[in-house]
Subunit: 379 residues, 2 copies
């Protein structure tokens, strides 16, 4: 059962399909610094590592699928690049490999779950499963989780709903990097959130976004290259807008859209960390420090389409909506209008066919993890 | 019962308090062009007008409270300035004064309501009432509405939840003004949405936002004054960014935060007009044309705090959160860090005390409506 729903989510829908040349092949532009990996190879590797580190098999598959699924969708920042920190955290005993995810409070439509410092990708998956079950019963659900960890991409959870003809919403808080509007202290994270809506013949419509204008990495990159940054990316440590990436790195990220994004990211914190009585504001811990306990809060909601309409009619309406948007007049020079999430689906189709390109440094990290844990890696 | 819940929402909490000088007094800076109105005067006037135009008394109070409540909160664009078009629409038979708001579909946690082209403020209020009742029963709810009209500010509905110790979410679609990212055709509206979270001793935290960078009126103002506009406000009719307000007025508004705001506003349309099988995309009608039937879709959600925590403990946590944000380090030159919605609450306290300042042109419009409908107006 678990394997089916995992694959439905876009992890590994066609395990027998290409790529098929032993984990390495020249499926796409590929210099000396890039290795092309078969998704199956990475899936097996990640599962093996997690099992070696004490995660039960079924849960290890869930976590591996979340990670490799991110690579497949082109969201490489949440893919196997993180195996180094995930395995270090499990090895150091800073993430619980076997949390007991029972509800602390429960109603027909809601549950509060203690994540028991479990692996975020597993806790999130199990919590969304509860949300889907409840929404099937009463039409809508809301499951909030305390004491979890970074759970990867929000879209993974919202898309669990869309693959079951439900609308899914997923929210999480994270470690603080943003100052409030008018502030000069990091009080808020970019607190990502996602909404996924099922379609018929088309790809589901999937919004998955963080609330900062850019990630910190982009500012680091500008600093490295000696470029200035746009004035809406960050403020310096005194809270003033800056175009100097070095001053920005000593300061704070800015939320999208000024005070509107400040409001959105604050609300996501209230809906997750505060509602679940988990950590919130500046006390949430990210992945950077192996010893840190995350204290992350998530909230998942599902809305059963069947409670509102004939499912086929709804999905036909979504298809028509997509066709209308994509068929609308384009700006000069634009060839395609994309729907939210469409680029990730196209990337997934491509990478299922051609494999996942990995920088050699990442491959070397994976090899190191393989050695450390006595796990094979055919890469 | 209705009066209590209306007043709780911030309409007229202290009907016996100031202002107290017959509808006109010099409560704040007041030139020849400004008249200060007592909220009670406007409340009575709006209620009377709606009743004269066929709206039952109880529903007329709901609508009036929404409108005057907007003025009290400083959101004058959704206040009595709209009485001209509301009364014209009712008079022309283009809004139904007595919709029969029965659910078309219903589960324990959800309902689909036909708004029967009713007055948006009444339809929205009644739909949120259903959402609150359901959330009290199963912990969470989702009520979607088709065939409604412009319902005023989203915060009115989300705050109905926060005043009953629930988290409220309200979404609506609207008439299209925005091109998709990469597009050159108005396909999407600024589709406002709101989240309200109850606090203890502090004001509730209330996000209420539209998804365009600015309203069209700001571009009109710039054109009038011969000023250029920032390049992220709008595109010209070919879809190119422009700083020329005249070219912008022939083109389309831009969503907040680029493709992220495009995704948000599209999602709100899917969650409202498409879910409810109401109008959506470019077919939703705004208030501008008296004869147009709105076809607006709304969706309301409520999350019962008691399903997740002891309510007092949750509210104390929100208070602590607010104090922490407001007490955090300020940027140079900043005196106050505001919470989402705080400015509106402060404005409401001020206007309850001092009255609502109205431009003489608006007062003259109200006098005209009073004459047309044979309704007294002590202003």
């Amino acid at each position: 059962m678990i394997d089916t729903s995992v694959s439905k989510m876009g992890g590994l829908e066609s395990p027998s399909g290409p790529p098929d040349r032993g984990g390495k092949f020249m499926g796409e532009p590929n210099g000396k610094e890039t290795v092309i990996a078969k998704p199956e190879t990475l899936m097996t590797f990640c599962t093996d590592v997690f099992e070696k580190l004490g995660v039960p098999h079924e849960e290890a598959v869930i976590a591996a699928d979340a990670i490799v699924g991110s690579n497949l969708r082109g969201v490489d920042t949440h893919g196997v690049i993180r195996m180094l920190v995930y395995s270090a955290k499990l090895r150091a005993g800073c993430v619980n490999p076997k949390p007991n995810l029972r509800p602390l409070r429960e109603t027909k439509g809601t549950a509060l779950i203690d994540g028991e410092n479990g692996f975020g990708q597993i806790v999130g998956y199990r919590a969304m499963e509860i949300a889907l079950k409840k929404a099937k019963e009463v039409g809508v659900s809301c499951v909030s989780v305390r004491n979890s960890n970074h759970f990867g991409t929000c879209a993974r959870y919202s898309m669990m709903a869309s693959s079951q003809d439900m609308i899914g919403l997923a929210f999480t808080n994270a470690s603080a990097q943003i100052a409030p509007t008018g502030g000069a202290e990091k009080m808020l994270a970019n607190n990502p959130w996602s909404i996924a809506v099922p379609a018929g013949e088309r790809f589901p419509v999937v919004l998955d976004m963080a609330n900062s204008v850019v990630a910190r990495g982009k500012i680091r990159q500008a600093a490295k290259e000696g470029r200035s940054i746009p004035p809406d990316w960050a403020v310096d440590k005194s809270g003033q807008p800056t175009t100097d990436p070095k001053a920005a790195l000593e300061g704070f990220l800015l939320p999208i859209a000024g005070y509107k994004g400040y409001g959105i990211t604050l609300m996501v914190d209230l809906l997750t960390g505060v509602l679940a009585n988990s950590a919130y504001g500046p006390r949430v811990q990210g992945l950077d420090i192996v010893e840190a306990i995350g204290g992350v809060g998530h909230t998942f909601m599902a809305i059963d389409v069947a409670a509102f309409d004939d499912v086929a009619e709804f999905k036909a309406r979504i298809d028509a909506y997509i066709d209308e948007i994509k068929g609308s007049k384009k700006a000069a020079g634009v060839e395609v209008i994309y729907m939210p999430g469409e680029i990730e689906f196209l990337k997934m189709e491509e990478r299922r066919r051609k494999g996942i390109p990995l920088h050699i440094n990442i491959v070397n990290d994976l090899r190191k993890i393989a050695r450390e844990n006595g796990v094979p890696l055919d890469l």
